[in-house]
Every structure is written in structure tokens, then in C-alpha cells.
């Protein structure tokens, strides 16, 4: 058992949960203003790809991340405009965004870099690993928390920031009100649409960071469809965490741990198929304890708030 659970497991769990956590926080922002964002996967994929493109052309991770944020924000704005101003079906647009991202990244991979499948270039620089001065010397905590890319720490800070924004600021209350009951919020003079655009844009930025962590964090390369369902997992984390920052963080932690755990199990001659199932099976088991609202209540609340 000692080989199964050690500090490195938690260390890699933290690394694996970061993209999921970042995207899930974005999903939570959208969910809170009544936009159910199925397009996390696609936005993340665009983020991962544009981060590599930025890295290739600017040769600098900071510029690469900025470029990635710019690109994904553009798509997020399009998403928001279609759903908010043109009243398109949010789920349809979300799934279309996933298809568009898959097609567009593969298409661009072949036209920009002339490769199929994956792009790798040894000249590209990955994200730095930060050793945090004081914490790294603490025996247990240091091994877990130290030596990650800056985005990992940013994700943790963002959980706190979002909690503070939601529950301790006036803007956050208005944000939640705009989602809870748009009609009532509008009658109080809250610009509901402005909050919806803001949420979508912030979600784009978060997904860009999630994608950058994927393509620049652990490995410095892009492969077709490299998000591999993480966007959907993030969506599940959003719903499981009931769109609150702390709940979302807990759900993402569960996924990160199970992910790291499943890789560890592969060392025990288990077929990888079963170890890969572990995160999903555990989530279903966890859902047993987070009951859904009664569908009657669900229907009643959807009757009072028009989207």
C-alpha cells in the first residue's frame, strides 16, 4: 500500500486538477448567471492550441498565455453574443463550440505547422516550475505544494477570490441575483446582460488558462483533442459543486486525486481501462450523497425565472 499512497500522489493530483478546476470555475460563473456552458471542452482546446501557437511565434510563455487568452476571449464573446443577444439555444451553441474547436484546431494544425496528430518543437519553452521559498522547506506540505507551474497557484488563489467576490462584495451579490431571478434583478436596475457577458468572458479567460496549463504545463506540445474529455469533467465538477467556488474546488480535487490514483494503479498490472474508469465511477458514487433537487421544485423555479 505504501507505493499506492505517498506524497508524490498528492503532488501529481494537484497538477492534474488544475485544468479541471480552472475550467470548472469558469463553468460555475456561467451557470450562476443562467448560461449552462457545455462548451468548456472546446474553449479549453482552443486555449491549449493558441498557447502553443503563441509560444511558437513569440517564444515566451507570458506572451503565449496572453495570446491564448485573447483568442479564447474572442470565441467566448461570440458564444455570449449568440446566446444573449441572438437568443440561440445555449446547449446547441455549446456543443457546436466543441465541434468547432475540434475541427478548427486540427485544421489549423495542418495548415500552420503542416503536421498531423501532434506538434512538438524542442525550442519551445514550457511554464516555469516555482519553488516557493518558505513553504518548500516544510516537510510534508512542501513536497505537495512546491514545484508547480504558476497557473496551479493561480487556480488556488482564484477559488478564494471567487468565494470572496460571490459572498463578500456588493458586485457579487448583484451577480448572483442576476442569475437567481433575472426579472427581479432587472426591476432593481441590475444590468443582467452585462453580468452575463462578464461571466462568459471570465469563463473564456479561465478556459484559456486551463488550456495553457495542459499544453505548456507538464509537456510542451499540442496533440489533437488533447483535452480528452476534461471539459466535460469540469462540467460535472461544476454541477457536483453546485456552482459554488468551494464545492467546485472540492469536486475538482476529487477528480485530480482519482486521476493521479488511476495512473498509479496502472503500475499494478491492472488493465488501464479499469483504472481510467475510477474517476467516473467514484463521481457517480459521490453523487449519491449530493442529491438533486426534486424535479418538481426544479420545474417551479424554471417557471418563475425567464432566461
Amino acid at each position: 500500500m505504501e507505493q499506492l499512497f505517498d506524497l508524490a500522489l498528492f503532488n501529481s493530483a494537484l497538477r492534474m486538477l488544475t485544468p479541471i478546476l480552472l475550467a470548472a470555475l469558469g463553468g460555475a460563473l456561467c451557470a450562476r448567471v443562467g448560461l449552462f456552458n457545455v462548451g468548456l471542452e472546446g474553449l479549453m482546446l482552443i486555449g491549449a492550441f493558441s498557447a502553443i501557437v503563441g509560444n511558437h511565434y513569440f517564444g515566451n510563455t507570458g506572451a503565449a498565455i496572453a495570446f491564448s487568452i485573447g483568442c479564447v476571449s474572442l470565441f467566448a464573446l461570440l458564444f455570449a453574443y449568440l446566446c444573449i443577444h441572438l437568443r440561440a439555444n445555449v446547449i446547441v451553441v455549446g456543443i457546436a463550440m466543441n465541434l468547432l474547436a475540434a475541427g478548427l484546431t486540427t485544421f489549423s494544425l495542418r495548415t500552420l505547422f503542416n503536421v498531423k496528430g501532434a506538434y512538438y518543437n524542442k525550442d519551445m519553452v514550457g511554464l516555469p516550475k516555482w519553488e516557493i521559498p518558505l513553504i518548500k522547506d516544510i516537510p510534508v506540505v512542501g513536497d505537495i505544494l512546491s514545484g508547480h507551474s504558476p497557473l496551479v497557484y493561480l487556480a488556488i488563489v482564484l477559488v478564494g477570490a471567487m468565494w470572496y467576490y460571490f459572498y463578500r462584495t456588493i458586485g457579487g451579490f448583484r451577480f448572483l441575483a442576476a442569475g437567481d431571478n433575472p426579472l427581479a434583478a432587472r426591476s432593481l436596475g441590475i444590468q443582467v446582460r452585462r453580468y452575463q457577458y462578464g461571466a462568459m468572458l471570465a469563463c473564456g479567460v479561465l478556459c484559456a488558462l486551463a488550456g495553457a496549463q495542459l499544453s505548456l504545463g507538464q509537456v510542451t506540445m499540442f496533440t489533437e483533442g488533447m483535452t480528452a474529455g476534461r471539459g466535460f469533467i469540469a462540467l460535472v465538477a461544476t454541477m457536483l459543486g453546485q456552482s459554488g467556488p468551494l464545492g467546485v474546488a472540492a469536486a475538482s480535487l476529487l477528480f485530480g486525486l482519482m486521476d493521479a490514483f488511476s495512473i498509479r494503479l496502472q503500475g499494478f498490472a491492472m488493465p488501464s481501462h479499469f483504472t481510467q474508469m475510477v474517476p467516473y465511477a467514484v463521481t457517480i458514487a459521490a453523487m449519491f450523497f449530493f442529491k438533486n433537487k426534486e424535479f418538481v421544485k426544479d420545474a417551479q423555479s424554471s417557471g418563475t425565472s425567464s432566461r
Binding site: 465541434l99 460535472v236 457517480i284 442529491k291 432566461r307
Partner: protein
């Protein structure tokens, strides 16, 4: 006159979506260094150019239509079943194994295999429905998660216990099924098979069920207004289990048809790679879960994909051009233009009920 105005207004959105899709495609073609007209001509030829290409489009459309119908019946009843991918994989796997190991005359085994495929997909889907009805576990999440478990399980089955060890060892796939069990082709030497007829029968049956039967009316009522439906005496749990079984069963039949009529074995990852499940769900969403509209939408979405393959074969433009056009088209197709928007606001949001 008013009727014509309504018709043109309802066609305005799709027409604009198609125009924008083609425009985005043109930009992509220019960036890739191709000629726009030539590429689109190749695309048309790749999808409908000859009887062979047309039937191969129809062949690919068969599972997509079935998955779409399955999604449509669930959406109509207000149950958001996103688990088609896993249900289809289990249906395909179950059909392949039945066809391999059950003895008997070919056509009987074929029918039994399809029924087993339907049962496998249907039960997997009804399991998610049961968890929602009994333990109030969100259907949307469970169906999404069960996808991964089902596809991984199917991959395991053909990678270890039922792996084809006779041919090239590298592929994870089951053995080839006996050709007495293969579903007959519609035209000699052409890809489309009898599964297409089954899909069309299912389409008509679903249309009749939804519009002409009591149970279909209850299902639509549940989708339109669950409170009213329950108040009116509809029992939600049996309805949910039944609808989810039908929905997953159609996805299972899609997998079974693909195995028995087109691939003749269960090949790991082949359903996921072709994106049958999500295209089918998309078709149902685009057609607002109308059975006949779903089938038509499925056919055209698939035509864009097969057209893309024609483009890749004959020009330098990558086949993903089809995906790009398809995605842009879908992005804009549910857009409501100003006229519709004002009216909708009064009625409330009819699409909101599906979520």
C-alpha cells in the same frame, strides 16, 4: 399571404446559418491555399456525386439518424440523455458478441443480435433513468459519466478477453462475424445496408407514437410542463424508465446496425472517432426533437462530413473543412432574428424546458 410570411421568416435563420457556414468555410479554404469553387465542387461530389458516394453518405447517416431519434424521444419528454456514445458502444459490442457466439441460421442470429444490442443500450440508459427516479441523481451528469465507463468497458472487452488474435495483433477489435449474419446491402456493391430502412421505420414509428398515442401525449406533456403532467396524473417514474429505455435502445440499435451491416466486427474507438453520437444528438437539437426533422438534419450533417472526405482525397484542403462548416452552421442555426425574438419573449422560452 400571412402563411408565406411565416414560412420565409422561419427559413431566414437556417438560410443565414448556411450562408455563414459556407463563408467561414471559404475563409478556411483560402487560408489552406485551395480554390473555393473547386473545393466546394469536390465537397458536393464527395457527398452526393455518384450512387456510390450517395450510398456511403446514407450508410454513415444510418447510425446518426438512429441516435438522433433516441435523443429526440428523450428530449421531447424533458429528459436530457447525453449518453448516446456509451449506449451505442454497448449495443455494438453486445451485438458483435451475440453474432459471434450464438449458433443458428444467419438471419435469425442477425435479428437476435440486434435485439440484444437494443437491450444492452436500453438497459444502460434506463439504469441512468432509474438512478434519477429513485435516488434523484442528475440525469445529465450520470448519462455523461456512464459514457466513459461504457466505452472503456467495451474497449477492455475487445482488447483482452474477446480480442481478435488471428489477424494483425496491434488492433483492438473483436473477431469478424460470419458473413451469413451480415445485414444485406440495399444496392449490390454499395455501402448502404438494411439498417437504413430500420432507421426510417423507427422514424415513422416515433412520429406516430408522439403524435397519435396516449403514452406519446403523456411524454410530450412531461417535456412541456412536468408540473402539469404530474397534476394530470402522469406517473413519472414508469414513463421515465420507458422513455430512457427507448432512447438508449435506439442508440444500441445504431451500434448493432453499424457492427452487423458495415464493419462486421466491433472495432475499438471506431464509433467515437466517427462522432456518431454527438452528431446524432446535434441533429435532434437542431430539429427541436421532431422525428422527421431529426432524420433530415442528421442526413445533412453527415453529408458535410463525407463531403469533407471527398475534399481531402482530391485537393490539398484537410477534411476537417467539413467539421468547420458544420460547426459554424450549427452555431448560427438556432439564432432567432429580431422578429422571432419579440414574439418569443411574450411566450417565454420554449427551449428552456429541455435543460
Amino acid at each position: 399571404m400571412d402563411k408565406w410570411k411565416k414560412l420565409t421568416a422561419s427559413l431566414l435563420g437556417p438560410a443565414a446559418a448556411i450562408a455563414l457556414g459556407l463563408l467561414a468555410g471559404s475563409i478556411a479554404i483560402v487560408i489552406a491555399g485551395g480554390s473555393i469553387l473547386e473545393t466546394y465542387a469536390e465537397m458536393w461530389k464527395g457527398a452526393f456525386g455518384s450512387l456510390y458516394f450517395l450510398t456511403s453518405t446514407l450508410n454513415r447517416a444510418t447510425p446518426v439518424i438512429l441516435v438522433g431519434l433516441g435523443a429526440a424521444v428523450a428530449f421531447r419528454s424533458g429528459f436530457f440523455n447525453l449518453g448516446a456514445q456509451g449506449q451505442m458502444a454497448l449495443g455494438g459490442l453486445a451485438a458483435a458478441l451475440t453474432a459471434l457466439y450464438v449458433p443458428g441460421p444467419g438471419w435469425i442470429v442477425a435479428i437476435v443480435s440486434m435485439l440484444v444490442g437494443i437491450a444492452a443500450g436500453g438497459l444502460w440508459s434506463a439504469f441512468a433513468g432509474y438512478m434519477d427516479a429513485r435516488f434523484r441523481m442528475n440525469l445529465l451528469i450520470t448519462t455523461l459519466l456512464l459514457n466513459y465507463i461504457a466505452t472503456l468497458f467495451a474497449s477492455y472487452m475487445v482488447a483482452y478477453p474477446f480480442k481478435d488474435k488471428t489477424g494483425s495483433a496491434a488492433m483492438a477489435q473483436s473477431q469478424m462475424i460470419d458473413n451469413a449474419i451480415w445485414l444485406p446491402k440495399l444496392f449490390k456493391g454499395m455501402p448502404a445496408h438494411v439498417g437504413l430502412l430500420l432507421a426510417l421505420v423507427a422514424m415513422v414509428a416515433l412520429y406516430v407514437y408522439l403524435t397519435r398515442t396516449v403514452s406519446g401525449y403523456e411524454a410530450r406533456m412531461m417535456g412541456g410542463n412536468p408540473l402539469f403532467a404530474v397534476y394530470g396524473g402522469v406517473r413519472r417514474t414508469p414513463l421515465m424508465l420507458g422513455v430512457m429505455f427507448a432512447s438508449g435502445g435506439l442508440a444500441g440499435l445504431a451500434g448493432a446496425g453499424e457492427v452487423l451491416g458495415s464493419q462486421y466486427r466491433y472495432i475499438d474507438n471506431s464509433f467515437v472517432a466517427a462522432d456518431f453520437a454527438w452528431t446524432g444528438i446535434m441533429a435532434a437539437l437542431l430539429a427541436n426533437a421532431h422525428p422527421i426533422g431529426t432524420a433530415i438534419a442528421a442526413f445533412f450533417l453527415v453529408a458535410l462530413q463525407t463531403g469533407g472526405m471527398g475534399v481531402e482525397m482530391n485537393t490539398d484542403v484537410p477534411l476537417e473543412i467539413g467539421d468547420v462548416i458544420q460547426a459554424v452552421l450549427i452555431l448560427f442555426i438556432t439564432v432567432k432574428f429580431v422578429r422571432g425574438f419579440r414574439r418569443r419573449r411574450k411566450e417565454g422560452d420554449p427551449n428552456g424546458a429541455a435543460v
